[in-house]
Every structure is written in structure tokens, then in C-alpha cells.
Amino acid sequence: MQDLLTGFADALTPANLFWAFIGVTIGTAVGVLPGIGPALTVALLLPVTFRLDPAAALIMFAGIYYGGMYGGSTTSILLNTPGESASVATALEGNRMARSGRAAAALATAAIGSFVAGTIGTVLLSVAAPFVADIATGFGPPEYVALMAVAFVTVSALLGPSLLKGASSLVIGAAVGLVGIDTLTGQPRLDFGVPSLLDGIDVVIVVVALFALGETFGHLVEGTGGSRVEPLRGAPMLSREDFRRSWPAWLRGTALGFPIGSLPAGGADVPTFLSYSLEKRLSKHRHEFGHGAIEGVAGPEAANNAAAAGVLVPLLTIGLPTSATAAVILTAFQSYGLQPGPQLFTESGDLVWALIASLYIGNVLLLVLNLPLVKVWARLLAIPAYYIYAGVLVFACLGAFAAGGTVADVLILTVLGLVGLLMREAGVPVAPAIVGLILAPLAEQQLRRALALSDGDATILVSGPLTVSLWVIAILALLAPAAVKFWRSRRPAPS
């Protein structure tokens, strides 16, 4: 804690605050471009920080990072065009809220939720990082298999009203995720002899194609280009009721986000999906889900930010980046002369604590700057759709090209965009496809790795207390809804 305070002292000079301010502003400005997620934002803007001294560069970087994250949430909510997989869950309810005139409330709960989760995440990071790292390193392949089972069972809430359509979407995503050379054996799969498919399909491209392009093509097909949404109806920002419903979701999102984000194969997307499902199960307003439930924005957005802090645990302690953004952060660390590893805290402690303090300051500054701007952003919706989606199309292509640097990526983007349109026309939800895309390859790889470690002995999957507890949770989550239903049918309500 003492170290953290010293970090704050290093970071909190007027000049550094100025750089943080600039960072947040340009981070938000680039992050808000549709189809450009935080990873790409940070990658594009990172060179800007290279000319500053390390402390100033770190704090500006932190500003860009949080600005990019928040900018990404803004476009997810307003335009239903997430730029990365971790914003997909936010878009689900957020965009529904925006369309029913509650954009400002959605943006506000996202901003405050990010702040709350970021604050708790930063404290946990500084207090519990070594402890969390110890537990996290206990996670080997069998533990991941069990965790994936929990995830698969619980994300069913994301599948939407029709189980068949939801499951089809999941399978489409899984198939796309398995394209490319298999890590364990080096065999190419589902590549149809096309060399550019050997490297697999970038998650960002799939997300942007299914959401941003699907949305754009949807407007085109339906001829709704001239339509506009009334940006603000009813309560301008967060009403008392909104706040009362948001805060438990923020805390639950944080509780899921930080620990899962800390795992060496964690990342930020799984906790956002889990948080969405959890909120839907616990909500007293379950009928609102699918029509703009505020918990469905508050939870995943908090989970995303808490996970972003959690991701720093494996990154700092074993130098393992577990999300696209973390990989860019690692690059940033190395360019500032930090070498992540178990001795990072002892060798370059000052800089690390300055970084952690910077992340926190970036988070606070973001809230201060963006909360007043919420209504301005919401007015974007007043622009007719064809203006906006022409821009979306341009930036989606630009983003896809910038991510991989090949024309093939733009072609893949277009093809998947058409798939997204077909899914949309058939009433198949696209969010489960993203879940399948993320979870299926991870589950497959860890299952095969676990079985390889035990030389084919399947009992390794239930060896150790962690795996057993996770399997029990998975089974309970699977049986609980059915059991409740059965119990209710046996004892009909007295009405």
C-alpha cells in the first residue's frame, strides 16, 4: 500500500496529469470509431508516447488505454458495433436501451461501472497480486477444462429465446474459431487449401463483421437508412431506480472479472459473458432482458474493467499476455524498459507502482471527462442511420486491415458480414457465435492438453480439489433451472 502511494506521488504531477488528459481524450476519440477496439486503439496510439519520459509515457498510455476501452463501449451501446469480444455482452442490452431512448443511462452506468470495477480492481491488484498469482498458477489444463464446462453451461442465457437458433449460432462461431493450424499437432484444419486461412481468423474481425457489418447490411436490406432514434426519453441520466439496480451488478461483475481475468488463460471476454448470464438469472426484471435491462449493461461493463486489471496479474508475474490488449501492453512495457516476470516488482518496482497508479488516475479522469459528455454522445443517435453506417463501413474495413495488414482480412470481413446478415434475416442471434468462437477452441485445446499430460487417462479431468469444485458448480448450474421448474410444477402457485 505504501508503494502504491509512492506511485501516486510519482504520477500526480501537473505535467503528468496533462499527459493523462491528452491520453484519455485521444484514446476516447479513436476508440469511439466503430470497429476499432481498445487493442487496436492502443496499438495505433502507442508510438505517440515514445517521446516522453517513462513516467509521463506510462500515464499517457494508461489514459489512452482507458479512453479506448470507454470509447469502445460507447459505440457498442449506441451503434451495436463492438470492436472486440469483451464489449459484445455490453452491446446486447446497451443497444436495446439506446434504441428505447435510454442511451444516456446506459452510457452512465457503463462509465460509473467501469470506474467502480477499475477502483476495486486496482486495489486488489496492489494488495493481492502475489497471492492471486499463486492461485492462478495452480490452474493447469484440467482446471481449464472444468472452468470451460462451467462457462458453457452458464452462458445459455446468451442463447436467446430459441434454443435451436442460439445453439446453431454457437456452432457457427465454434467452426470459425477452429479454422487454422492446430497448435498441438501442427495440422491445418478447415482451411480449404487457402493459405491466408492457415493463421486462423482474428476474433476482432469476426466481432466487427457479425455486429458492425451485419448492422450496416441490415439497414441496407430493410431500407431503414433514413431512420433515426429519439436519443433521450424520460429520465436523462441515472435515475434512483437505475442506480439501485446497477450497483449490485457492478459489484458482481467485478467479483467475476478480476479472478477470471487473473488466470493465465483468462482474458476479459469470458467474465463478461458469465456476468451477463448471472445478471439475467438473478434479475427481478428478467422480462426486460432483450429489451434493454440496465443490469445487463452494468454487470458486463464492470466485469470487463475488473478483468482488465486482473489480466495484469499473469502479465506482470509471468509475462504472459492473455488478451489482445494485454499483448499490446506487454509491448508498451518492454518499450519503457520493463521486463515482466517474477522479479519485476523487486527490480523495477517504482515504475510498476507508477503504472498501477497511472491506470487508476486514467480511470478517474475518464469518469470526470466523460460523464458530462454522455448526453453529447447520445445525440449521435439523432444522425440518420445512412450517414452513420457509411462511416461504420469505412472504419470497419480500416480496422480489419490495420489488425492484420492484408487484403485477405478485408475479404474475410466481408464474407462474415454477409453471414451476419443471413443470421440476422433468419432471426439467429449473433452473440452466441462470439461465445463459441472464444470458448470452443480454448476448451478443445485444454482438453487435449490435459489428456496428453495424463497419457489419455480421463480421470485427470477430476483430479484435484479445484477441478472437482468447478465440475460441481457446472452440474448445479445445469440442473438448478430444471429442478426449480420441476418443483414449481409439482406445487402450482395458489392463485
Partner: protein
């Protein structure tokens, strides 16, 4: 209306930023043959591994002599995914890629459609040796302990390491052969990089880990894993307490070299200019300091000698892999 005012502002900010990012490179003194263009270095592995480190150290050593270079990662399958992408840069002298023993092995074992023939070998830069580690809590204290377990039940001894057919996989096979076990039956669990393999080793699920010395040094110093042998001919100055395989009666030696290639089809003049640039880079203080800090051996070799070396490595590696049933 407020929105109409903010849109041009956002556009202006973005345009400015993009200009700063793309156009602001410091003009370098002697990059005539590049015509002021920026070099792009591909690390055909995920961030954190040996190739990535090589690319990033080159980036900083090149800063003073060739301006800013860009490093990008294309991960997976022993670098063959990166290689297949790199082959598309045919004739472009501003694209470079880090390569090495691992890629030579992966091309064979993955039966990759694209081989090093799609590149112009420029220079070998470093050698890194492989280290054998066990979790700190493991009962295994030294290589003879591990060898005994391998002889008793080879399949029960799992090795966590980098991609299938890579240097680590080859080393696991060589150790098996040297201790009298069947190299084709080694239980080797492939990962896409040193960081992932380390995570599996730290979880205690794998019997042993095989990895580049530089990738494990920090963890060994911190005491979270224990080193039981190194693949160098003599003990390494950075880790004087770790005995070689040979000292422990296991006749295995393996050097994991890393080098740099350009795309095929570049002009002879460009090839010479790039080789000169790289040799100049290996002479910089930054690069010298890197070699010491990372514990990499200096193995600079260019021109026809490097071409010959690459061919002989292809032969040697293919032989080993065939014996292991991988090629």
C-alpha cells in the same frame, strides 16, 4: 447542433494522431536503399518468446542506425503460420522475419507448404541453449532422477514445451534416445509459446518443462521452478549452478540458433545492403549489451556461409525428426 460540431473535431484529432503515428519517424542517416521507408520485422511467435525478444531487441538496436522499425507478431505452429504470411511479401526488401532452428523443424514436422526457400537468408544472429526444468515441488532433483523415471514408464513423464516439432520437442526426443528410451514415444505436450508452457509447468501438471534458457531465467532465480540441466557444451556464465546434460551422463547437446531472413526475390543489391545493416547492428553497444543481459551467444554469420549452414541444419533436423516419427 452540438453533434455536428463534435464530428469534425473528432475527425481532426484522429487525422492528427494518424499523421503523428505514421509520418513522424526520425529520418535515419543511412537507409538510402529503403528510400526512407520503415523496416517491418515479423516475430513469427506470440509476444514474450525467444523470437519476439530477438525482434524487439533488434528494434532497439536498429533505432540509431535505421530509424524506427515496426515489430509485429504472427503466432503459432513453430513459426510456419508467420512464414506462410511472410512469403507473400516476395520482393519487398523492407520486410524482415526472425527465424531459427524451431522453424526449420516445424517446416518438416508440419509438412508446411511454404519452406525457407520462400525467403532470402540474411544472417544468423544468436544461439540460445535449452534448459530442462521441473516444478519447485517436484521430487526430481537432477537429470539421472528424470532418466530413471523415463526408463520406468516413458509415457508417464510429460514434457511441456513450445510448438510441435520445435527445438524443445527435438530436445525431448534426443534425451529419450540418450537415456535408452524410444524417442517416438515421448509424451510431449505442445504450446504456442514459452509463456503458455511455463503456465502449464507452474500448475504442476507436467513432469518437466523444456524451454530456452532466456525464457526461464527469471523464474529460476525466483525459485518457482528448478533447473536440472542445460543443453550447452559447458555451463553457462549466467547460471553457473546448473550442470550440463553431458556432466550428468546424458550425451545431448543442442543449440537453438536464431537468425533473420528477407523475402525471396529481392535484388542482390538490397540483400547486400540488408546484410551490411545487420552486421552493423550486431556491432552496436545496444546489441552487445542485449547479448550479455539475455545470455545469448553471439553467432553472427552472413552470406554464403549462412546459406550453407541453413542447408546443413535442415538435413540434421530432418534426420532427428524422422527418428522421432515426426517427419
Amino acid at each position: 447542433m452540438r453533434v455536428r460540431d463534435t464530428v469534425p473535431f473528432v475527425a481532426a484529432v484522429v487525422a492528427t494522431v494518424l499523421l503523428v503515428v505514421t509520418g513522424g519517424g526520425d529520418p535515419a542517416a543511412d537507409d538510402d536503399f529503403l528510400g526512407g521507408r520503415q523496416l517491418r520485422l515479423m516475430a513469427p511467435a506470440s509476444p514474450g518468446g525467444g523470437w519476439d525478444q530477438t525482434a524487439r531487441e533488434m528494434q532497439s538496436a536498429l533505432r540509431d542506425i535505421a530509424g524506427r522499425t515496426e515489430v509485429h507478431n504472427v503466432a503459432g505452429a513453430g513459426g510456419t503460420i508467420g512464414l506462410s504470411q511472410f512469403a507473400r511479401y516476395r520482393g519487398d526488401p523492407t520486410q524482415l522475419m526472425v527465424t531459427g532452428l524451431v522453424m526449420v523443424g516445424a517446416i518438416e514436422s508440419n509438412d508446411s507448404p511454404v519452406t525457407l526457400a520462400a525467403t532470402t537468408p540474411l544472417a544468423r544472429l544468436t544461439t540460445d541453449y535449452e534448459i530442462l526444468t521441473v516444478p519447485a515441488a517436484s521430487p526430481i532433483q537432477n537429470l539421472p532422477d528424470l532418466a530413471a523415471q523415463m526408463r520406468a514408464d516413458l509415457r508417464a513423464v510429460s514434457f511441456a514445451g513450445g510448438s510441435a516439432g520445435g527445438a524443445e520437442h527435438i530436445l525431448a526426443g534426443l534425451i529419450a534416445e540418450a537415456v535408452g528410451a524410444d524417442p517416438a514415444r515421448v509424451n510431449y505436450v505442445a504450446h504456442s509459446g514459452g509463456g503458455e508452457a511455463l503456465a502449464t509447468l507452474l500448475s504442476g501438471r507436467a513432469t518437466a518443462g523444456v524451454s530456452g534458457v532466456s525464457e526461464m531465467e527469471a523464474q529460476i532465480e525466483a525459485g518457482t521452478i528448478r533447473a536440472i540441466g542445460v543443453s550447452s557444451p559447458q555451463r553457462l556464465p549466467g547460471i553457473p549452478d546448473v550442470p550440463t546434460f553431458k556432466e550428468q551422463g546424458v550425451d545431448v547437446e543442442l543449440a537453438n540458433w536464431r537468425g533473420i531472413v528477407a523475402p525471396a526475390g529481392i535484388s542482390a543489391a538490397d540483400e547486400t545492403a540488408l546484410e551490411e545493416l545487420i552486421v552493423k547492428m550486431t556491432g552496436t553497444d545496444t546489441w552487445r549489451e542485449t547479448l550479455t543481459r539475455r545470455g545469448w551467444g553471439d553467432a553472427t554469420l552472413t552470406g554464403p556461409a549462412f546459406d550453407t549452414f541453413v542447408r546443413s541444419e535442415q538435413q540434421t533436423v530432418t534426420d532427428v525428426l524422422v527418428k522421432m516419427g515426426l517427419a
